[in-house]
C-alpha cells in the first residue's frame, strides 16, 4: 500500500492553498478532474501527480494550520471534491500521519468537520482517476479501515468539550456500525461515559451497541444508567434520546426484578419534578414497564409501607440492588393525579384500572405541540357547535391509551335533539366576579412585604 506520488511543488502548494481559502471548491474539482496522475503516459502523469500531491499538501496544511474553525470551506470541499474514494483515501492517509497531540483546537475542529462531511462509510464510492498501475488499494473495506484508523487516532486526542458533545452522537449514530473493528472504540466511549452528565448519555447508545454487537462486558452497566436517571435529564436537550435508550435497555426480559423496580421507582420520583412534556412520556414508560414485566405489578398494589419513614426505598442509593425499591410501591404517582394539566391527571388513571395487555408507543410531544394542543381546545361559543369535535378529541386521547373497551355509543336522533334543547351550561366563559384592585402588588398578600414597585 505504498502511494507513489511525485513530490509536491512549493509554488503550487501556495497556489492551491489560496484556492482552497477562496472557497472555489467547484473549480478545484474541475481542475482536479483534468489530471491523470496514474496513467501510463509518463510525462503527463508526472506533472499531474505532482499537481495532485501539492493540492493534498495544501489541504493538509489548511486543515492543520488554519487558526479558525473552517466549517463551511470544508463542507464545500467535501461536497465537491472529497466524494471520490481515491481522493478520500489519499486525504485520510495524509491527515492520519499529521494527527498529533500538539494540534490546535481549531485544527481539531477542522479535522472533525472533515470526518463529519466526507460520505458515510456505508455509502458506495467511486474513484475519480483511472488507476493503471494500481497505485491505490481498491475496495471499500480498505477505505473503511483507513477511516477507522483516523477516528481512532482522533478520539485519542484530548478534545474540547463542545466538540465532544457534537462528535459523540454523530459517531455513535452513523460511524460506529460501519467500522470493521468497532470494539477498538470501547475505551473512548467509556472515557466519555465517565465524564458524567450529558457525556454519559451521549455515549450510552454506543456502549449499548458494543455490549449487544461486540459482546462487551460492562459490569454495573445498569447501576451506571440508574445513576444517570435524574430529573435534570428531563430538562435537557438529550432527554428524548435518553428515555428512548432507557426504554430499550429495560426491554430485555432477563433483567433482574430489583433493577426494574429501582428504575420504575426512580422514574416515578422523577415524575414529581418533570416538566409537562415529559409527564405523558414517563407515565407511558412506567405503564409499559409494568405491562412488560409482571413482577412489577405488586408495586402498584400494596398495603405495606404505611408511612413515609417506613418506606424502605432509599432514593440516594446509587446501586439499584440496594435501593430496596422492590419492597416499596409507587405511591408517588398519586400526586400526578393532582397535576395542573387535566389530561396528565387523566392519564394517571391507569393505576386504578386493570393491567393492560399491550404496550403503548412512547409519543414525544414538544412543549410547543402541547401548547398548541392546549390552545386548540374549543371554548366559549365554539363549544356548543362542536361538541362532537370535543368527543373526537377525547377519542384521540383514548387511542394512545389501550383499545377503548366501550364502542362509541350511537346517538339516536331523539337524543340529539334533546341535547340541542339543553345547551351546555358552561358555555359562557368563566370570569372572576371580584373586581381586582388597582395596584400591581396587592397589599394583603405576602408579596407586598417582599416586593415593591
Amino acid at each position: 500500500m505504498k502511494l507513489v506520488l511525485n513530490r509536491s511543488n512549493k509554488n503550487k502548494i501556495i497556489e492551491w492553498q489560496e484556492r482552497i481559502q477562496n472557497e472555489d471548491s467547484e473549480e478545484i474539482y474541475e481542475t482536479l478532474k483534468e489530471l491523470n496522475p496514474f496513467t501510463k503516459d509518463n510525462v503527463k502523469a508526472d506533472e499531474d501527480s505532482s499537481d495532485l500531491a501539492s493540492f493534498l499538501e495544501a489541504f493538509y496544511n489548511f486543515i492543520v494550520t488554519s487558526s479558525e474553525n473552517e466549517r463551511n470551506v470544508i463542507k464545500k470541499l467535501c461536497n465537491h471534491v472529497f466524494k471520490f474514494s481515491d481522493l478520500i483515501l489519499l486525504a485520510i492517509q495524509g491527515l492520519n500521519s499529521r494527527i498529533s497531540k500538539s494540534l490546535s483546537e481549531s485544527a481539531k475542529w477542522n479535522l472533525y468537520w472533515f470526518m463529519r462531511f466526507i460520505p458515510l462509510p456505508t455509502k458506495k464510492l467511486y474513484p475519480l482517476y483511472r488507476d493503471d498501475y494500481e497505485v491505490l488499494p481498491i475496495g471499500s473495506n480498505i477505505l473503511n479501515e483507513h477511516v477507522q484508523s483516523m477516528w481512532l487516532s482522533f478520539t485519542k486526542l484530548e478534545l474540547p468539550s463542545k466538540l465532544c458533545r457534537l462528535m459523540v452522537p454523530f459517531f455513535v449514530e452513523h460511524i460506529i456500525d460501519a467500522l470493521p473493528n468497532s470494539e477498538l472504540f470501547g475505551d473512548f466511549l467509556f472515557s466519555v461515559f465517565n465524564k458524567g452528565q450529558i457525556y454519559s448519555v451521549l455515549s450510552l447508545a454506543g456502549i449499548f451497541k458494543l455490549i449487544v454487537h461486540r459482546n462487551f462486558e460492562y459490569p454495573e452497566f445498569y447501576s451506571q444508567v440508574y445513576h444517570l436517571t435524574h430529573s435534570s435529564v428531563c430538562y435537557s436537550s438529550y432527554s428524548q434520546k435518553f428515555f428512548e435508550l432507557l426504554d430499550l435497555f429495560l426491554s430485555s426480559t432477563h433483567i433482574p426484578s430489583y433493577i426494574l423496580a429501582a428504575f420504575v421507582k426512580k422514574l416515578s420520583r422523577i415524575l414529581l419534578q418533570a416538566p409537562l412534556s415529559h409527564q405523558f412520556v414517563l407515565l407511558t414508560l412506567i405503564r409499559n414497564l409494568i405491562t412488560r414485566h409482571n413482577v412489577l405489578l405488586p408495586l402498584i398494589h400494596r398495603d405495606e409501607p404505611v408511612t413515609f419513614t417506613s418506606d424502605p426505598y432509599n432514593e440516594e442509593e446509587k446501586n439499584p440492588k440496594n435501593s430496596k425499591a422492590l419492597e416499596s410501591s409507587l405511591w408517588e404517582l398519586t400526586l400526578v393525579r393532582k397535576h395542573w394539566y387535566d389530561r396528565v391527571s387523566k392519564k394517571a388513571d391507569f393505576l386504578d384500572r386493570q393491567a393492560q395487555e399491550q404496550e403503548n408507543l412512547l409519543i414525544w410531544k414538544s412543549v410547543d405541540e402541547l401548547f398548541e394542543e392546549i390552545m386548540a381546545r374549543k371554548f366559549g361559543a365554539g363549544t356548543a357547535e362542536s361538541t362532537n369535535g370535543n368527543d373526537q378529541e377525547s377519542n384521540e386521547e383514548n387511542e394512545e391509551d389501550e383499545i377503548p373497551k366501550k364502542k362509541k355509543k350511537k346517538v339516536t336522533f331523539v337524543e340529539l335533539r334533546s341535547e340541542t334543547k339543553h345547551p351546555i351550561k358552561d358555555n359562557e366563559l368563566p370570569m372572576n366576579y371580584i373586581k381586582p384592585a388597582s395596584s400591581f402588588l396587592r397589599h394583603t398578600s405576602i408579596d407586598y412585604k417582599l416586593w415593591q414597585p
Binding site: S231, L271, I300, P430, T444, P453
Partner: protein, 744 residues
Amino acid sequence: MSRAKKAQKRKSELKKSTSEIKKKPINPFDLKYMKKKNASEPTKVVQGTPAVSRKRAMEIRKQTLGVEYQRFGKVNQIEDRRIGEKQKLSEDEKAEKRFMAQRQQMISSKKSRFNLNDDEDSLTHLGQSLSSVAKYEKAVDSDDEGGLNEDVVALANFGGGSMTVKVPDDEGGERKLSRKEIIAEVISKSKHAKAIRKIARDEYDGATDRLDEQLKNLMTSGILHKPLGKSDSSKLANNDSYDVFFREIQMGGDQRAAAGTPHKTDEQKAAEHEKIVKKLEDDKVRRMDPENSDFINHESADVDVESVEVSSRQKRREERRGKDDFELRYDQSGKIILDERSRSQLVASDEVTGEPTNPKKKFLYKLEEFDVTAKNPTIENIEKIGQLIPELFSLSKIDTDFSSRCMRALLRQKWKKMKKYKHKELDFSIVAYLKLAADLYPTSDRWHPVCTPSLCFALEVVTSARFKNCFDCARVLFICSILANWVDESKRYLPEVMATLQGLLMLAVKTSEEEIFPTMSFPITQPFRNMLYVGEKLEEEPIEPLSLSHVFNDEPHEETTELRIQVLRILFSIIQKFIELYAGHKEAFCAIFNPFLKLWKCLPIENYPEFLFDEAKEVQNLLEKKIEENSSITQLKRKTKQNIKILKMLEPEFEEDFDPERPRLRKDPGRKGSKAEQRKLSQILKREKRGAMKELRLDAKYLARVQTEEQQKISQERKEKTNKILHSLQTQESEYKKKKLKKF
C-alpha cells in the same frame, strides 16, 4: 330468484290439472324402490315414480314456460271478441246471437234507460238512422237560403206543370214569364244577394282591422299606461294612517309602561348579592373539581371534609369582602383622589387622542397599552399597569369571548417571542400578562381557555430560564409567587415550579460537586453554583423589599449580599406558601418536601441576619411538622376482579318433561330456543334453494331444447326451399338446353 318463484307458482297452479294424470294406473316398471336395512319391514319400499314425475314436470314446463317463451317479446295480444265465432254455429244462429247481444247492450246501457220510444226501431242505413240522414241532406241545401222565394223554390223544384208568374211589362201590360226567364232571374237575384253579403263582410273585417291598428298605436304611445305608483302609494298611506290609528286605539300607541322593578331595601340587595356570589363561588368550585359531573356525589361521600371546606370557603369569601372594604377605606385615605384624576385624565385622552369608544376596540387598545407599558418597568409604569388592570377587567366583562380571544392572541405572540429568544432575560411584560390573566379569570378552573395556556406558558418560562445571577433568581421567583397564588384554591401540583424551587434552594447551600440540580437551568461551575450562599455573618440592617423595577431592568446590576438576603427571603416565603398549599396532598407530601428539608438543614442560618434566621427557622419548623403530619402514604390499590368458581354438585337432576324420543333436548341447549329454530330454518332454506336451483337448471335446459328445435325447424325449412328452388332452376336449365339442342 323471481324466476324460481314463478316456477313455484306455476307448479302449484298446475298441480290440480295434472292430478288427473296422477290417477292413471302406474306402470310397475316406472316405480323406484328403496332397500330397507331393517329386516322386520318389507325389504322393498316404493319411493316414487321418477320417470312419471319427470314427464309430468316436463309437461308442466311446456304449459307454462313454453307458453311464456312463445309470447316472449310480444307485447300485444289479439283478443277475439267476435260473438259466436268460436263455436261451430250456422250463420243464422250467429246473427241471432249478435242481435241478442246488441239488444242486451242497449237495454243495459245508461242512455237507453230513459228512452221512451225504445219500442220503435229506427231504420238505419249504413249504421245511421235514416232520419239523421234526411237532416243532413237538408243541411246541405241551407247554404243558399234567403235569396229565393219559397214559392219560387217550390215552383222550381216541384213545379208540377204550371209555373205562372206575372211580371209587369215594359209597355205597361203584363206578360207571362217563361220558365227559363224565371230561373235566370232567380239566379241573378241570388248572386246579387251574395255579392251584397260579401261586401258587408269585407267592410266589417276592414273596420275591425282598423280598430286593431289604432289600439296598437295607442298602446305603443304610452297614453294608456296607468300611473300605478301614485294610486298605490296613496292607498298605502291611507292604510298606514289607518293602521296607526287602529293601533292607537287598541294599545294606546307607543307609550307602553314597563313593569316597574320593586324598590329593594339595602338588606334585600345585600342578600341577593350574597346569593349571586355564592352561586358564582359554587360554579367555580364545580369547575375546579376534576369530576365535574358528580360534584354532588362527592359531597355526600365525604360530608365532613366538604363541610369543613365549605366553611373555610365562606370564611375566605368574608375575608375577601373585608379586603374590598379595606381597600375602599384605603382609597378614602387618599388614593381615591388619584383615581378620580386618572379617570379625568383618561377621559381627556379619550377626547384628545381619539381613543376608540367601541368597548371591543377599547379593550384591545387598553391591552396594547398595558403590554407596551409593561415592557418598560419603571415605578410609574408599574403603577400605571396596576391601574389598567381593573379597567381591563370591566372592559372585558362586556364581551368575555372577545376579550379572552385577545388575551389568547397576546399569549400566542408572547409564546412565539419566547421561543425565538430562548434563554433571554425574563421580560416584565410576561409577568404583567400573567398577573392580568390571574386577575381577570378564575385560575382555579380545571381547564380555562386563557388560564391553562397561560399556566403552560408561565411554566415554560420558568423551566427555560437560566440562572446566571441573583436577578435571574429574583425574576423567576416573582413568577413563582404569581403561580403560587394561581394554584391557591385548586392546589394543583406544579412539578416544574417545585423542581426550580428546589434548585434555587440548592444554590443557597454549599453542595458537593456530585449533587445534581433538579433542572438544567442552574450553573454548575463554582462561583455561581453557590450564588445564594451567605458566607459571612452579616451586619444587622433593615432590609427593604426588593424593587420590581430594579429587578426587571435590563441594566447591569451589582450583586450585593443584601440582594441575596432579599432573594432568599422571597424564596423562603414562597416555599412556605407551597408547603401550606400542598399540605392537602397527604399522599405524597413527603416525596415533594423531604428533599427540601434535607437542604434546609444545610442552610447557613447562622450567617443570616436575625429576621431571616427567624423566618428560616419558622419555615423549617413548619416543614418538619407538616412532614410528620403527612407522613402516611396512600397506597395504590388496583381494582381486581375475582372469578369465583363454583364446585360441581353431584346431586341427581330430574327432568319433568322428559322426551325419550329426543333425550338430549333439554341438556343440549343447541337443540332448543331461537338459535335451534334458526338453524332449522336455515336448513330448510338450503334445501329449498337447492330445489329451486335444480328447477332453474331444468328450465334452462328445456328452453335450450325448444330453441334448438326452432332453429332446426327454420333451417330445415330453408333447406327445403332452396332445394325446391334449385330443383326448379335445374328443370328450367334442362329445358332451356333442350330447346337449344332442338334449334340447331
